[in-house]
């Protein structure tokens, strides 16, 4: 279960002035901000459960922004990342984008542009976390099904009528109906369409 806390913008930049300025700007629009002077500092504090987004200078001494990004991906962190890039680093950022990074913004930038990007990233993160939570909920419920119920559910979701399911499993059609009703009840599905959607989501 994800913690019920406000999203945080994690600012990672080794330039004191830029870091300080970003902190002030984000606080002025009432965003929660945490700042870090290096990738290592951030990793020491990082909790994948924390909602929010990362604002990351692509070019830093020590571990670079790109290296941190790769490290987070290895940890399967879903937190969106916005790269702050300089004039000469667009190629690097584009490469990162192809690899699936959230976004990048080139210095110097318009404050509203940055805030919009952050807002968008926070929404994406929020959506991702909701989806993740739902998926987790469905998976938990699927785990409560008996093996037979799971078999029945898989076939139904595959689009097979009760009669075919009964034949395939070598049980009566009436028994299929009972299992099906239990599955619907345990997963909280209101219709066949709903059940199908849940299963697709859980398997994603």
């Amino acid at each position: 279960m994800s913690k019920q806390i406000d999203p945080t913008v994690f600012v990672i930049d080794d330039d004191d002035a830029v870091r300080g300025a970003l902190e002030l700007l984000l606080k002025s629009v009432r965003l929660r901000v945490e700042t870090f002077a290096s990738a290592a500092d951030f990793l020491a504090r990082f909790d994948p459960e924390d909602p929010g987004c990362v604002l990351l200078d692509i070019r830093m001494a020590g571990m670079s922004g790109l290296e941190l990004y790769e490290d987070l991906r290895r940890r399967h962190a879903i937190i969106p990342i916005i790269f702050i890039t300089g004039h000469g680093d667009v190629d690097m950022a584009v490469q990162a984008m192809k690899d699936g990074a959230a976004d990048f913004i080139q210095k110097p930038f318009h404050d509203q542009t940055l805030l919009d990007r952050i807002q968008k990233s926070l929404e994406i993160d929020s959506d991702n976390r909701k989806l993740l939570a739902q998926k987790q909920k469905i998976s938990d419920r699927i785990l409560q099904l008996t093996p037979r119920e799971t078999e029945v559910m898989d076939l139904i979701v595959d689009g097979r009528p009760n009669k075919v399911v009964a034949h395939d499993l070598g049980i009566s059609e009436r028994t299929v109906e009972i299992h099906r009703a239990r599955v619907m009840k345990k997963l909280g599905a209101t219709s066949l369409a709903h059940l199908v959607r849940m299963c697709i989501r859980a398997r994603k």
């Binding site: 330039d15 002035a17 830029v18 300080g20 300025a21 970003l22 002030l24 700007l25 606080k27 002025s28 629009v29 070019r59 001494a61 702050i84 300089g86 004039h87 000469g88 680093d89 210095k107 110097p108 930038f109 318009h110 404050d111 509203q112 940055l114």
Partner: protein, 503 residues
Amino acid sequence: MPTEHNLDTVRLRGILSAAVDGIIQINASGKIEEFNPAAERIFGYSASEVIGDNVSCLMTETDRSRHDHYVQNYIETRVPKIIGIGRLVTGLRKNGEEFPMRLAVGEILTDEGEHLFVGMVRDVTEQQRIQEKLTRSERQLTIRWEHAPIPMAAVDAEGSIIRVNPAASAFWGRSASELTSLPLEELVHSADLDIYQGALRSLVSRASQSLQFRLRFAHPDKSLLHATVHCTGLFDEENELREILAQVVDRTAEVAAELEAGAHRERLAHATRIGTMGELAAGIAHEVNQPLTAISVYASACQRILESDPKDPPVLLDALTKIHDQALRAGEVIRRLRSFVSKRESERELVDVNEAIREVVQLASTETRAVDFAVITELTDGLPPSRIDAIQIQQVLLNLIRNGKEAMQGVAQPEEEIHITSRQNLDGQIEVSVTDRGNGISPEAEQALFDPFFTTKHNGMGMGLSISRSIIAAHGGKLVFQRNKDRGTRFYFTLPVTLGVEQ
């Protein structure tokens, strides 16, 4: 008892035999009557051989035929051609050798009314030879003086010009008559007067006998003449200073060439700095972008704070201070780059070498690379200042740092570093080293490393090390390198130290 007459005769004999000059007495018909020992020595005849002979046997063919006629003519006309006058004639020795002699003739009229002539003869062969030699050497001296390509002037103990040769006239752009009796110091450039007067004093007081020093002169066309002056004091028998001979080696063209070479080096250095700048462009953009980003973000934060409530003045004030600082930071980056790139005359100032190193390390950290290696400095505190052109020395350092980083690409681990050290070596000079952890220099490359246009890089011009070495050489130092024991190369150069009072 000798008679009066006899006594005279004895006295005369004594005089004749003691005389240095040859004495020959002849009668009116030219017959030799007296021939003293000196005459015997001069002509090689004994008296007994020639007495009674015509004196013409002592003369050359030309004079011989005329002699009798001369004597006869004189007796008749009484107009002297030689008597009491003396002249230079040619004598003939017994061995047939002709020689120059000075001849004076006196006439004696005897009581008997007979004309006798006495010739006094001096062999001037030796004298004439010396004379000729003197004349010849004087002529040679004159030729040497007149035609010497080196300007020369003789000055007296007060420093006034006694004479000059044509080369000196040409050098100083004034005629010999203009220069003669002019105090030499009027030609000396005012900045060098002390040098000249010191040298003159030293020569006059005989603290030194000859001196050599650099001097600048002012040409009438306002141009500056550079010279090395060699001065020698000339003393007479009494050991009094007679004159000072100044030989002037014109160095004007040489100095102009040096200046031109220096200017050329500066142009080249400037060109490579510009080239370096091009390669650093991305890094520069980053350097300026950082403060600009901070400024723009602080400013927009201020706007938002002002639009909202509460306004929170301390936060605003702090943000404004930061904006100010960052604007200065951006300006500083630009100033540093400008001064690095700007084209200017070489300026040597007393510089803290460590400070120059720190500045250039800042500049070098703006390089963009996939893997950018850190530059670590280990500088010795309290180094004496050095009189250098900081920009040029920084160019050398930047070049070495960039070379080092390039050598490390793909070879060294990202956490490996370039080390810069400074220290004072055993000779008291400042030694700066730049050590990389790259793949080193191949033996083939070592040979040509400092040659112009030698490069191992794909897009290098091959001027970096060549110019660096000439910059260090122009500072009186040396740029060399050595292989590290394990991996990489250490380049180091020396710079002179300026101690105590400035020259």
